[in-house]
Amino acid sequence: MNENDELDLLDRRLREAVPYIDDAGFTRRVLQALPAPRRRAVESFRAMILLSITVLGSLLAYFLSDGGRFISEGLVKLAYGAPIVMFLVAIASGLVITGLGMAAALWKNQEFGS
């Protein structure tokens, strides 16, 4: 038997020498030692704060912009513009939203490590 065969045999014996260790309540003890799950209430509170800030910001923007007149004026301009402009705006909007969706999906994929 040459040296490589001997070392291969040694590796095989090492792998075979490891007995399966029966759980015997180990998992239960680990689970008991885990910190309590994150409180949903805290997360809901955070979501409420974000939502409230968004609503308040939107209302503020609405009143400061004279009832959002610039939006309706913009839409009117768009409606009276050339059809090609409307077509390009629609395409651009679609591309931006698709891009944002794909970026979010890739980011989540990386975060979960799958």
């Binding site: 040694l10 590796d11 090492l14 759980d23 680990v30 030692a33 885990l34 910190p35 979960f112 799958s114």
Partner: protein, 178 residues
């Protein structure tokens, strides 16, 4: 269909699902406890305490698992760090000499009843060689994965594995010839 480790990790991340984490513990407890039993030179009680600490730490820091390595490799790394921290703490608090972990006992002084016992021969290796042999030869990690777990250069892992296997072979041969 059985869920993969990555699926279970995702459930823990999204829903903080402790049942999913329990399944991960069930899958990997034997390997982690086995590794720690060898690292602690078969002190089963200490090894199980360290294994429990390793899994709790894995749960707390599961967001840092990015899926770049296998989940088991990531767990081994945590377990090895927990073992090292404990060894350092015991050395500081109780005065346990680090030589106990690093020293290489004389194979000839071993109880004859334990000779031929491969695992016992393994426990005689110094820590840096024992851990490299355990990870690469016993647990099937690549040298690269073992280098990540042990946080040492790839070349050092290869050297430690080579020296450890040679010493194991010589020890077993010496016991066999007596």
């Amino acid at each position: 269909m059985e869920l993969t480790d990555a699926d279970l990790v995702a459930r823990v991340l999204v829903d903080d699902d402790q049942h999913a984490f329990g399944e991960l513990v069930r899958r990997h407890q034997s390997a982690v406890r086995g590794l720690l039993r060898q690292l602690t030179r078969t002190d089963f009680a200490l090894a199980d305490d360290l294994a429990q600490e390793s899994f709790v730490r894995a749960y707390k820091h599961i967001r840092s698992f990015r899926g770049e390595a296998k989940f088991s490799t990531w767990l081994y790394r945590i377990a090895y760090n927990v073992f090292r921290e404990d060894a350092r703490r015991r050395k500081e608090l109780v005065g346990i000499n680090e030589e106990q972990l690093e020293a290489e006992p004389d194979p000839q002084t071993v109880d004859p009843a334990l000779r031929q016992d491969l695992m016992h021969a393994l426990s005689l290796l110094p820590l840096h060689e024992r851990s490299a042999v355990l990870l690469c030869c016993q647990n099937g990690l690549s040298h690269d994965e073992a280098a990540r777990v042990l946080e040492i250069p790839l070349g050092t892992v290869k050297t430690n594995v080579l020296r450890g296997r040679e010493k194991l072979k010589k020890t077993l041969a010496a016991w066999g010839s007596n």
